[in-house]
Symmetry: C2
Subunit: 79 residues, 2 copies
């Protein structure tokens, strides 16, 4: 099954990359605000059910993909 994990810095943590992009967009005349840039991690995992795939992805987040001090993750089972 295809999994997508979106990892973003927690709201309280400054995101300098997002700030830089926000300034860039505003310089170009766009009205973007509150820009945050995280990681979009996509992968395939073998699992019998979507629930099992989500549980496996959760374990991967805890073991390697996410820094729980500074980041939060959203797991989506795409198919």
């Amino acid at each position: 099954m295809k999994i997508k994990v979106t990892v973003q810095l927690k709201p309280a943590i400054l995101d300098p990359q997002g700030k830089a992009v926000e300034q860039g967009l505003q310089t170009l005349g766009f009205n973007a605000r509150h820009v945050r840039i995280g990681r979009a991690i996509e992968f395939d995992v073998e699992a019998p059910t979507p629930e099992a795939a989500r549980a496996e992805a959760q374990k991967m987040c805890e073991a390697l993909l996410v820094n729980p001090i500074m980041e939060k993750a959203i797991i989506e089972v795409l198919s």
Copy 2:
């Protein structure tokens, strides 16, 4: 409105960061395959309708957020 742009390298382009994470996950005993790591860009934009917000985000992708040579983008209007 809240917009989420997911930017991934095109399938034909090697993703060394994804490969490294894939090896890391497999070393830890997970069965993840085809790991790809892209950017998850979230921001707020003022627009009267979701369609207008999506069009504005598309323009931002073309102007700054995405390298069309190597990357593809998926735009989602979250709210």
